[in-house]
Each structure stands twice: as structure tokens, then as C-alpha cells.
């Protein structure tokens, strides 16, 4: 690890000011990904701005009945927060499906959103990688890519976003609040992470020196049920091959409201807008769900070794939509 400076600001303003003071500054949250990448030589900050102690550790109801989640709230605390388990169960389920108990105790909300891909070429500085070293190439295209993208990738990068939490937040229409040298702004979660295109070194639309302060959820949709499910190579403590977050409200056998997002399939949480459009007012039947999912996944372009993910995504989502429909029907009789 290269030597570096360290600062612990007392306010978000001071944090932003410190970060703008010189090149090579990085914000530090729980450190579960950044410190690891520093050990690997992927990240070489000159100074760490430790924001983990900022007063951004609260989960509070918003005036309209939504939920404000501070950027330094730990993943474990968020997963067990009563407002989350009761009103946004898919978010709690996503958090609990990620990492291990120890890591969830350290990882923060903001840090979770900014974690980097676990593509092995990105993490190995002896290998080319367009995300780590733009223009150096992408060995994953022809190499080990079983767990990489099937949607939205480019010839430059086939990495996947590794977050579980972000997939649930995408389905829940969350908004990310940022503060930077030019002030505050809000970005919808679904637009926060980007597709790789020609510059895969940019994971998100965050600007230099900007700090995540909050994630805000809209009020829960009345009468809707939500669920997060994850398929992985072992039962626990593994990244998703494919995951699904969904919210669904069914009335009189028809879909009144549906949101759907996939994880493990793209450079960002994949909000399935096409499937959602097909589902709107459709009968809540397996056949209609199949139709919508096939429409969504028609644009999948699997790589040599990950075509299985297309079927896995379809079947997992079908299962989740079926489960949510059953729960709705059980509730409404």
C-alpha cells in the first residue's frame, strides 16, 4: 500500500472543502471495498477524507411519508431498521443477501453505492482493464466472464455492478442526494450508475469532489408487496449471478403497479422498464409475466460463458412475480 494522508472532517462542508484542496483525495466510509482496493494497488489515494463519522447516520421519515437514509448508516443497521423491514422489505432482504455479518457492520450506504466491480481483471493490476486503465483493453471479453454482464455492456467493458442494495433501491425509485463544490443536487438511483460505453472508468455520474449525503425513498406504494431474491454459486456470502427486486400490486387479477430491477447482469442495476410497460394492466398470470420478461430480455447479448444468466434472470423474476401475486391474493382474498 502506498503512504497517504488522513483527515477526519466534522461536517460535510469541511469534507467537500478538504477533498477539493488537492488531487488524489478520496472519501472513506466503512472501507470494506476501498481499503481492499488499496491493498491490491488498484486505488492509490494521496489522502483519505474519513466521512464515516459525519452526522449522516440517521434513518428518518420524510414529510411525505418516505424515508431518508443517511450516507453513513451501516448496512446492518439499515437492514434491521423497523421502518425498512416493515415498509421496504425488499431493501432489507437485499442488504441481508449481501456480504457477511462482519462486512455489513462496517459498510455504509454511500460506500455501498460506490463500490467497484469485482471483475477479476479490474482487481488485478498485472492485467489490462479499460475500467482501471482506459485504453488498455478488456481481457474479460474472451477470458473469464461467467459472472459478468449480459445487458448494456460495450466492447470496452463487460463488468457488472456488484451491489445488492442498489438493485432494491432501483426498484423502489430511490433518489441519491449529493453535495459538492458546486452545491447540492439530487439524482435518481436508476440514473446514478451508468452503462460503460466508451469510458468504463466512470461507474457513476458523480462529479469530482461530490459526496453522497443521503438516499431518499418515496412513500411505499399502498397495497404493494416487494421482494428481493438472489441466485448465487453458494448459499451465502457470494455475489449475485442474477438477482431480482420487484414491487407489485394486483387487484381483481390485474397488475395495477409493478417495478422490476435485475442485479448481476449489467454495469448498473438494470431497471426493467420494458417489462414494466408490458405488465401494466396485464392479467397477473404466469403467461403474462413470461411475455413481459421475454420482451425485456430480448435485448440481452450474452458472452460465450454466461448465456445461462438470461434464462436464470427470466425464471427468477417469474418466480418472484408469482410469489408476490400469491401474497396479494392471499391478503385480498
Amino acid at each position: 500500500m502506498k503512504p497517504f494522508g488522513y483527515a477526519r472532517p466534522a461536517s460535510t462542508d469541511e469534507a467537500v472543502r478538504l477533498c477539493a484542496a488537492g488531487p488524489g483525495a478520496r472519501f472513506l466510509g466503512g472501507g470494506t471495498n476501498l481499503v481492499d482496493l488499496m491493498k491490491l494497488g488498484v486505488e492509490t489515494p494521496r489522502i483519505l477524507i474519513d466521512v464515516s463519522g459525519l452526522p449522516l447516520d440517521r434513518v428518518t421519515r420524510t414529510a411525505d411519508g418516505g424515508l431518508s437514509i443517511g450516507a453513513t448508516v451501516r448496512n446492518s443497521d439499515l437492514a434491521s431498521h423497523p421502518d425498512v423491514t416493515e415498509d421496504y422489505p425488499a431493501l432489507s432482504q437485499a442488504l441481508l443477501a449481501g456480504a457477511s455479518g462482519q462486512l455489513r457492520n462496517a459498510a455504509t450506504t454511500g460506500g455501498n453505492l460506490l463500490q467497484r466491480t469485482r471483475c477479476r481483471y479490474f482487481q488485478d493490476v498485472s492485467k489490462p482493464c479499460n475500467k482501471r486503465l482506459p485504453g488498455s483493453g478488456c481481457p474479460a471479453l474472451e477470458g473469464t466472464h461467467r459472472d459478468l454482464a449480459i445487458l448494456g455492456h460495450s466492447p470496452e467493458c463487460v463488468a457488472t455492478n456488484p451491489s445488492d442494495m442498489a438493485v432494491a433501491l432501483a426498484a423502489l425509485d430511490a433518489t441519491v442526494l449529493l453535495v459538492g463544490p458546486e452545491g447540492e443536487r439530487a439524482v435518481p438511483l436508476t440514473e446514478f450508475h451508468r452503462l460503460p460505453g466508451e469510458n468504463p472508468d466512470q461507474d457513476t455520474v458523480i462529479r469530482p469532489g461530490e459526496l453522497i449525503t443521503e438516499v431518499v425513498l418515496p412513500p411505499p406504494v399502498p397495497g404493494a408487496a416487494s421482494r428481493y431474491r438472489k441466485a448465487r454459486d453458494r448459499a451465502s456470502f457470494a455475489f449475485a449471478l442474477v438477482s431480482v427486486a420487484a414491487t407489485l400490486r394486483v387487484a381483481a387479477g390485474r397488475v395495477e403497479h409493478a417495478t422490476l430491477a435485475f442485479g448481476g447482469v449489467a454495469h448498473r442495476p438494470w431497471r426493467a422498464r420494458r417489462a414494466e410497460a408490458e405488465l401494466r394492466d396485464a392479467p397477473a398470470t404466469p403467461a403474462a409475466f413470461q411475455h413481459a420478461l421475454i420482451a425485456e430480455l430480448a435485448e440481452a447479448r450474452p458472452l460465450r460463458d454466461n448465456a445461462f444468466k438470461v434464462d436464470l434472470a427470466r425464471r427468477l423474476a417469474l418466480d418472484v412475480l408469482g410469489e408476490l401475486t400469491e401474497r396479494q391474493q392471499a391478503r385480498t382474498g
Binding site: M1, P3, G5, L28, S100, G101
Partner: protein, 186 residues
């Protein structure tokens, strides 16, 4: 000369302090020390405090052998920079016993022979202590049914295995580890 001229054009490197002084409360004892910013809590415990219970296994947060309790919460000390922990209370496996009497989790591991080589054991034990507290505090896990009543979570073998998944045991002593933790719960 060219290289000198080039050097003169470059901005001077800003002076960055690469060390800080922190106070840690380790196993009940207060210590103030100066740490290299690169030092993890794991390295500090092992090399500065002589507490070699917590182990450097993978050094990437994937094996759990370095698990200690920081302010009562289990955490991978290999990913925790010591400089960030000024004022923290750290409990390692060496600090769990009450005098000569072992912590109930330690005692259960001995009685169940819940280990083979023992390398992962300090991390397993610290993780179990933290995990039992989380369940008592009502934290759900990936396998807790969503409609479970709030309050302390009852831990069966599935719950224990899920909650302990951050601790690998290369010898495969998992069945005995689960039994040992079940003994503590009873």
C-alpha cells in the same frame, strides 16, 4: 539541465503527514500510540499490542479469521485502518475470558472440540459473540422468515450457518462449530 528545468516547472509535492496518534481501548486497557496510516487494526493488534489471537488469513475480508469486536460489533479487522478508530473499544479473543473462566462461547468450543487446526477459531469465537448479540437485538438474517415478529430472533442451525458465513474454516469443522453455538444458546 533539461530534467532540472522540467523539475522546476512541477508544483512541489504537498507535505502529507503519513502518521497519526490514536487512543485505543484494547481488552479494557487504554493505550495511546502513533500509527502509520496504512496499518490495519489487525496489524496493530498483532504487531504493536502482541495480541496474535486475531489471524491474518486472506487479508481481504473474505475469510473472517481477523474478526474482533469493535465497540461491541464484530468486524473484519484486516479492512479497518487503525487511524480511523481513535477512541474505539476493541475486544479480541484474548479479552473475552473473565479471569480464569472462559467466555461461554470459548467454553462451548472446547467442549465440542469445534476446531481442527485452530487458525480460524479466534475469529469464529469473536464472530459468534457478536452474532449472538445481533440476534438478541432482533436483527433479522437472510434466512429469517419475513413475517417474523420483532424482538430477539430464535437461532436454529440454519440461522447460525447463515449468520456465521463470514467465517471460513478450511478444516471443515462447521458441524461442531454450529453445535457449540447451539450449546451457548440453550
Amino acid at each position: 539541465m533539461d530534467s532540472l528545468a522540467l523539475g522546476a516547472d512541477l508544483e512541489p509535492e504537498p507535505v502529507v503527514d503519513e502518521h497519526s496518534t490514536v487512543t485505543l481501548f484494547v481488552n479494557g486497557e487504554e493505550t495511546t500510540l502513533t500509527v502509520d496510516h496504512r496499518a490495519t487494526v489487525l496489524e496493530t493488534l498483532r504487531e504493536r499490542f502482541g495480541l496474535t489471537g486475531a489471524k491474518k488469513g486472506c487479508d481481504h475480508g473474505q475469510c473472517g479469521a481477523c474478526t474482533v469486536l469493535v465497540d461491541g460489533r464484530r468486524i473484519n479487522s484486516c479492512l479497518l485502518l487503525a487511524v480511523t478508530q481513535d477512541g474505539a473499544t476493541v475486544t479480541t479473543v484474548e479479552g473475552l475470558a473473565d479471569g480464569e473462566s472462559l467466555h461461554p462461547v470459548q467454553q462451548a468450543f472446547v467442549e465440542r472440540d469445534a476446531l481442527q487446526c485452530g487458525f480460524c477459531t479466534p475469529g469464529q469465537i469473536c464472530s459468534a459473540v457478536g452474532m449472538l448479540r445481533e440476534a438478541a437485538d432482533g436483527h433479522p438474517s437472510h434466512v429469517t422468515p419475513p413475517d417474523t415478529e420483532t424482538g430477539p430472533v430464535a437461532l436454529d442451525a440454519d440461522e447460525i450457518r447463515e449468520r456465521m458465513s463470514g467465517n471460513l474454516c478450511r478444516c471443515g469443522a462447521y458441524p461442531r462449530i454450529v453445535e457449540a453455538i447451539e450449546d451457548v444458546i440453550e
